[in-house]
Amino acid sequence: MSATTLPHDAAGHHGEHHPSGLMRWLTTTNHKDIGTMYMTFSMVMFFLGGLMILLVRAELFQPGLQFLKPEFFNQLIGNHALIMIFGALMPAATGFANWQIPLMIGAPDMALPRLNNWGFWLLPPAALMLTLPFVLELFGVGDGALATGWTFYAPLSVQGGIGVDFAIFAVHLLGISSIMGSINIIVTIFNMRAPGMTLMKMPLFVWGWLVTAFLLVITLPVLAGAVTMLLTDRHFGTHFFSAAGGGDPILFQHLFWFFGHPEVYILLLPVWGLVPHVLSTFSRKPIYGYKAQVYSFIAIGVLSLIVWAHHFFTAGLPVPALLYFMYSTMSISLPLAVLFFCWIATMWRGAMTFETPMLFAVGFIVLFGIAGLTGLVLADVAADAQYHHSYFVVAHFHFALFTGGIMGVMTGVYYWLPKWTGHMYSETLGKLHFWLTVISFNLAFMPQFFLGLAGMPRRIPDYALQFAEYNAISTVGAFILGFAQLLFAYNIWKCIKGGPSVSARVWEGTEGLEWQLPSPPPHHSWDVQPTVK
């Protein structure tokens, strides 16, 4: 791809006023400003969710109840998940989308800039909704935050306190935010591409987000419907999830996981999109199997919509349903294996160097591979009966969502941060951050596979003595992992404030439109669209 027209910033924008200070951020319609807000929000939520789980891990350091009440323990684990998924990971991916999609497809901005700003500003109120009940309880109002785990299973959530109501409306706000964000991304991709950029010339990151956005538009309204039924069951006398009225608690599980399973891919697809760019750059080779990766994204997106019941194999589903959901789930491993093959083939015989983004990308492939393989184990109906609701599941989805999701985000941050700020981050700190993260992550979560195999149930604040050593190790790992992230935040902060200047291409092997703009890119990037050959 090459551009024949270079951007000139001022054209067509004379007489604009730009509020400064706080008002700049409250009112902005600029995709870069909005992207920055998403990333900042994500970072704050990442530390908040991390703090919550460190309290949990501190409690689990030893058997017996140390210093958390079980009720508070329950509130922490559910909110840790909601905050990490909806507060940290999804906004980070959306932040990338906002920053990168217009740069990568040669668009002047996102297609619907005010809607974009609205989508972001729905997030802080939603975060407030989730955390407010913790504060209210201190003043004697209500009995704390959502204590059902993030999945809100009925009938527990029907009986829960005011925290459930807050979480229901937090989900509504988050849902509206994500649907608006996704509509904007779909419209931007369909309508704003530079002339000559056909769909099959689009960068993989953009393809990953296109599939993600469709999944969000399809599944989030179903979650909104499910929590609405929960609300009416709680307060308005309906019987959706109550057998006394002909309903069924398992209906909630179906509706929840119709959203919940695609949600996993919503979190992962943007990362799968960005990792190939990084691998290609630092292997100094073109992306291997571009088309195969695009078709795999689409196949995984479609399959993710029809496998949801593998999250509750033990709920008492009929055998034909179990078989169907087992085989359909396992079939996802086919397109996923294609992706792994392409990632490795991209590096094959490349002139590889290992700057921080590349370290994270390779670490991602290895550790996310473990998530995929343990997922196959869980997809097996017969085996799942033993692993269900054990720490094996906890370890599995943290390998999926921490290494697959968060480490992918870190890959992207280190890769694009110099582009965004115009400065190089500290490579030494970045590498230190990588090694601390990878080692402590495995220290924290690898023992949990064995705990789960040995029968330790998840979401319980106390445990039997035989689980003590592995839990102690896991807690030590979790604390190192948590504090290592301060290095990440510090490195980003330093890079925003200053550091060695970088060229437009930043890295030696980069390809694509975004690298033709100066670093940092001007406020309005592709005011005149480039032409792609």
């Binding site: 609205w118 109120p125 069924d248």
Partner: protein, 290 residues
């Protein structure tokens, strides 16, 4: 303010609006509305007042924001390129609405075909039952909810079907009028559409009143009552929104905002109205009739 004289990507300047405070205030209003509602359903006296403040904020912001968009439209800020963004956006918004209704239809299918037959067939299948004497069947309020009379299809609901289908026809007739520059046909068609929509809502109100006072059919009437009122209720809410939007379009038509070539707002609302129409057909067949 930059406008876009040319129409194709690559040559034109896409319209990127100036910074705006409306989205932030709208989000704050939504927060207040949700917070007030939570407090209200948990019996805190401040709830309704916070809700009111939130609702007032939201309505004010919708007026301001849409007003701004209409102003931009009328002053020529949007060309074909921007128009396509709005079209794509509306299509995928309606798609998300379809999935919202899909959730409630799923609840209906699940309870009718899975949970109710299982509850009724426990004795036959397992030799034991928690619900002595309950045999399932449809319509049902489940084993423990109170007796009710189901809503018959061929009374008011059939009339409502006729009303909504006619309104789908009149809005298309209005569109033909717009395309032919026949302003009288445009406005008469829109007026009839709004009138049919209001008549539909009136019938729906009568039906709800009848259900609650005469038939013992309430939200609490087991899964039948829950699915019936949630599906028809959310549909009615969408009809109300659609009628409000059609009224705005009627007023804008009277002010001469639309031309035969450029009338995206009209089309968006017409799409929305047809979507509401199709949902009703599904409701009529699956909730009332079968």
């Amino acid at each position: 303010m930059s406008s876009s004289p040319a129409a194709t990507p690559g040559q034109a300047h896409y319209f990127v609006p100036q910074p705006s405070i409306y989205p932030f205030i709208l989000a704050s209003g939504m927060f207040m509305l949700a917070l007030g509602f939570i407090l209200k359903i948990n019996q805190f006296p401040a709830g309704p007042w916070i809700m009111l403040a939130g609702a007032a904020t939201i309505i004010t912001m919708l007026f301001k924001w849409f007003g701004k968009v209409i102003y931009e439209n009328q002053t020529g800020a949007y060309a074909d390129w921007e128009d396509r963004s709005f079209r794509h956006g509306m299509i995928w918004f309606i798609a998300s609405e379809v999935m919202f209704f899909a959730a409630f239809f799923s609840a209906l299918f699940y309870t009718r075909n899975i949970s109710v037959p299982q509850l009724g067939g426990m004795l036959a299948q397992h030799g034991v039952t928690l619900w002595e004497g309950y045999t399932g069947g449809w319509p049902t309020a489940g084993p423990k909810a109170s007796h009710f009379e189901p809503m018959a299809a061929w009374g008011l609901p059939a009339i409502n079907t006729a009303l909504l289908l006619s309104s789908g026809a009149t809005v298309t007739w209005a569109h033909w009028g717009l395309l032919k520059n026949n302003r009288f046909q445009l406005m008469l068609g829109l007026f009839l559409t709004v009138a049919l929509g209001v008549a539909f809502m009136a019938c729906q109100a009568v039906e709800y009143h009848h259900a609650y006072t005469e038939m013992g059919l309430t939200l609490g009437s087991g899964v039948y009552g829950a699915t019936f009122f949630m599906l028809t209720g959310f549909h009615g809410f969408h009809v109300t929104l659609g009628a409000v939007m059609l009224t705005v379009i009627l007023l804008r038509s009277m002010s001469g905002h639309f031309s035969a070539e450029r009338h995206f707002a009209f089309e968006a609302v017409a799409w929305y109205w047809h979507f509401v129409d199709v949902v009703w057909l599904l409701l009529f067949v699956l909730v009332y009739w079968l």
